[in-house]
Amino acid sequence: MDFRVITDNFSFLMLQGFIGFGPFAGGTLRLALPAIVLGFLLGTCIGLARLAHSPWLSVPAKVYVEFFRGVPLVMVIFWFWFIVPVMLGRSLPEYAVALTAFVMFEAAYLAEIVRAGIQSVPRGQVEAATATGLARAPMMRYVILPQALRNMIPALVTQFIVLLKDTSLASIIGYVDLTKAAQIVNNREIRPFELYLFIAVVYWICSYTMSRYVRRWENAGGQSAR
């Protein structure tokens, strides 16, 4: 075992692979951060649609969620990778394909989190808001969502951990994230054990730190009921 392969290629692995500075359009964080933000926006819309009274909104939202939750992420990535060129008549860069696939896929999971968050707000809040004369939209905006968001934080961070790990799958269409960067280095150096162990540790540090944070937040009871 020879861990010099890590120190020699450290800046490529971390700067190019993990963060996204370098000759390739890549980076784990450069994919994961926009994906969670955009996915949350889309997920909020879908989650709200699922709770809507009108079946014209709630049924398509339900179908969307159930569809994406029943299909492997690899499959979704391939869908966008192969179908988008046919639809647009030209191919898109890996980054755009990966980002679209992740946003659409994560939105289905985030929609469920948003829905659960909204449903966790006590019914009395809705009644009180209605009693003060608020219409549905401002009630959502000023009363329900701020409280729901607080309840959602642990689940959202957890979902971000899942997403961060899932971005490794973008490497199968050639997106240079941390995993692909390790593969590139491995093709030259043939040191699979050291390289894959190293990136495992990098992913682990990120996920574990965040999951500790979630647990502290949950144990502190600092979340809901206020």
């Binding site: 029943g70 499959m75 192969f82 046919v86 490497s171 995993t179 054990f193 495992a200 682990w204 996920s207």
Partner: protein
């Protein structure tokens, strides 16, 4: 978008056989990995609640290490990183017997074992402490109390979150295509490569995954009904990473 659909590519020539092979490999790798994951999950989940600190700590280390790293990295690790460290005879045997398949089983089984462990731990925590105390006071040893009382009850409580995990495992088996296991997603891509019919191939693969998931969910909901203990529900942490 002008695209002429030609669904016949799915059954003309070899493609039908490829799809069927893919489904069979997906089911095979998933079920083997599922058995490994459930065994590891029960063992480590039970140990995490055990009265011995060292065992608790070891089980926690296993769970936290494996579930916080992407499955894809584990696939590469087991397929590329592990074999050079094995004895030569075992390496030879693996090369002749589909090393990628067994690496896939290991990766899926160990990764999902860590996730199952959390589900089972939640199930054990849902059992009132008095149940354990009663078992020990009737003269059972601690291992016996776990084997005969605690684990069987926990398993009956965790059917819904375990269903979720089973579906995740089935879907995650698609990641094995990266190390060359010819499972369903792999075959779907192969059909795309040979026929240049991306839409039809992907639609077929997607539909099969959806049907498999639906079938498992339906089966497990029957299991859930027959296994449920009236008045007790375990809150699984299905959203855990």
């Amino acid at each position: 978008m002008n695209y002429n659909f030609d669904w016949s590519v799915l059954w003309s020539g070899q493609t039908g056989a490829w799809l069927l092979d893919g489904v069979l490999v997906t089911l095979k790798i998933s079920s083997l990995a599922w058995l490994a994951a459930v065994a590891l999950g029960i063992l480590s989940g039970a140990l995490r609640t055990a009265p011995i600190t060292l065992l608790r700590w070891l089980a926690a280390a296993y769970v936290e290490f494996f579930r916080n790293v992407p499955l894809l990295v584990w696939m590469f690790f087991w397929y590329f990183g592990m074999p050079p460290l094995l004895p030569h005879a075992l390496q030879e045997w693996l090369l002749d017997h589909g090393a990628e398949f067994w690496a896939g089983v290991c990766a899926l089984g160990v990764y999902h074992g860590a996730r199952f462990s959390e589900v089972i731990r939640a199930g054990i925590h849902a059992i009132p402490r008095t149940q354990f105390e009663a078992a020990v006071s009737t003269g059972l040893t601690v291992p016996q109390a776990y084997r005969l009382i605690i684990v069987p009850i926990a398993l009956r409580l965790i059917v819904p979150p375990a269903t979720n995990e089973t579906l995740n495992l089935l879907k995650n088996s698609s990641v094995a295509l990266t190390i060359g296991v010819a499972e369903l997603t792999f075959q779907t891509r192969q059909i795309e490569t040979y026929t240049a019919r991306a839409f039809e191939a992907l639609a077929a693969g997607t539909l099969i995954y959806l049907l498999l998931c639906l079938a498992i969910a339906a089966f497990m909901s029957r299991v859930e009904r027959s296994m449920a203990i009236p008045g007790m529900i375990a809150r699984g942490q299905s959203g855990e990473p």
